[in-house]
Amino acid sequence: MSVLVKIPTQLRPVAGGEAEAQIDGATVQEVLDGLFERFEELRVRIADDDGSLRRFVNVYVAGEDIRFLDGLATPVADGAEMTILPAVAGG
């Protein structure tokens, strides 16, 4: 299953300059793992040592914050869109 991951500008320098990537995976965790495999440097930027996402990283599947879904275990459908964004905006 392939998912379109949208990469924020702040991370594009460590993602080969790409704004998007097609990654295989059935859950958010699997897609992130696939993304980190392709762009190793991305991992240290947004994930903690224990593999969880840093607290200022938001991930959305089809526009919904994964914390309202099943977190990293949230299933992603084939062709879905997954967006990574900084959490420090607004207010």
Partner: protein, 420 residues
């Protein structure tokens, strides 16, 4: 000027003073760093310098992130360009204090700003910095008050503006935005949806989103509330501040303002206890405080306090840390308590606030009732917005005596004043 660079609040990585808001190393938020050594150590001279400034936030330009100093010509008549914000009244509220069993309560009425909310402070700073950086278009994601302010500042300064709001916002806030001739965009979703959309758009457009890519500068504007409170109290600190929390930026930056002036010797004493106020229908920070967590779990807002309806607060962790560090708290109140808070403030001070001010007043009442406040404390209640913007909250809360135009009808239909 004293502004030095941007730095990551988490990992302390440094960045130039550009339209940046996220650390590329760890994704943490960026904040403005200063070098105040050029201000010297003569506190009296520094105070006179502030007092000799204009009657608006630019009197604090030494502590704001502008490379070129305050906008406009120099001197005491300076900075009457754009929409000068600040220098709002600090009112001694003895009748409110008496009602709550307290001794000394002050109301900082920030509804007395050009577009009737504290947002004019942050927008003035963000937009002035945006002009320094050469932006032609300003934008924001807003719960309403920011929308008013960004649209008005765009009009005053001749900049194009785009204002994104949840489509179901109060009518008064929509009308008081569109009138300035902005590009008003109603998004079908809540504020957090609007914020996510704008964060995405921010990467695609060469615009200054005041609360996204300009957020480090924008947030600094809130410090001027602390500066004014201290100056208006005769260069003294309050013992406690009660402040509403939406994203947590205002709450944390007011404390930062007191700390910064304390470090410079402009004020002395212990920084105030900081009490945050949220509505129960959107209380991610209050819930995390009560549960002892150091991060907030996002919520879907459902409250009449729409200007505080941010379910995913960017500065939540810092707000929690501040409340705990100063011996304060973060409390939440119901919609019914919010309406009662609006009435309480109006009936005891003559200040008519919007729902966010109802939240703040209701939390003060709650703290007083709970015995959290020593009666000898000097408490400042920060009122951030205007009641005329959320009229529905008071509809049906009082009776109008409708009579015939005759003395007999008046005597029959209207009660005499209560005499003590």
């Amino acid at each position: 000027m004293a502004v030095s660079h941007l730095e990551c609040k988490e990992c302390k990585a440094q960045y130039p003073l550009e339209a940046l808001y996220v650390c590329e190393q760890c994704f943490g938020p960026l904040q403005v760093a200063y070098d105040h050594t050029r201000l010297g150590h003569d506190v009296g001279e520094l105070r006179r310098r502030i007092q000799g400034g204009p009657q608006n936030i630019w009197r604090y330009a030494d502590f704001l992130p502008l490379a070129g100093g305050p906008p406009g010509p120099s001197g005491r008549l300076a900075s009457r360009v754009g929409l000068p914000a600040g220098c709002t009244p600090l009112i001694r509220a003895d009748r409110l204090a008496a009602r709550l069993g307290l001794r000394e309560v002050w109301v900082k009425n920030d509804a007395a700003n050009p577009t009737h909310s504290f947002k004019d402070r942050v927008v003035s700073v963000a937009v002035t910095r945006a002009r320094e950086l050469g932006f032609q278009t300003i934008a924001c994601a807003s719960t309403g008050n920011l929308a008013n302010s960004v649209a008005a500042h765009g009009a005053a300064l001749g900049l194009d503006s785009y204002v994104f709001i949840p489509a179901d916002l109060e009518e008064q806030k929509i009308l008081a935005t569109g009138v300035y001739g902005t590009n008003l965009v109603g998004v079908k979703g809540n504020y957090d949806d609007v914020n996510r959309l704008c964060t995405e758009l921010c990467a695609e457009r060469d615009w200054a989103f005041v609360n996204i890519n300009m957020r480090p500068y924008y947030a600094e504007g809130s410090k001027t509330l602390a500066f004014e409170i201290a100056e208006q109290l005769g260069w003294e600190l309050p013992d406690r501040c009660v402040v509403p929390i939406a994203s947590g930026s205002l709450f944390t930056k007011i404390a930062r303002g007191f700390e910064e002036w304390g470090e410079l010797g402009l004020i002395e004493g212990t920084p105030p206890r900081m009490n945050g106020a949220q509505a129960q229908g959107c209380s991610p920070v209050a819930s995390a405080f009560a549960a002892g967590h150091d991060v907030c779990r996002p919520v879907k807002p459902s409250t009449i306090a729409k200007s505080l309806a941010i379910g995913n607060p960017a500065d939540g962790p810092y707000a929690l840390d501040l409340a705990r560090r100063t011996g304060g708290s973060v409390d939440a109140v119901s919609d019914e308590e919010i309406r009662a808070g609006i009435k309480l403030l109006a009936e005891t001070t003559g200040v008519f606030t919007e729902t966010a001010g109802g939240v703040t007043t209701a939390v003060l009442a709650k703290l007083a009732a709970r015995g959290d406040i020593d009666p000898d404390e000097r408490v400042v209640l920060v009122i951030t917005g205007e009641g005329l913007k959320t009229l529905d909250a008071v509809r049906g809360s009082f009776e109008t005596h409708t009579i015939e135009p005759s003395v007999e009808s008046f005597q029959a239909g209207v009660p005499e004043p209560l005499t003590v």
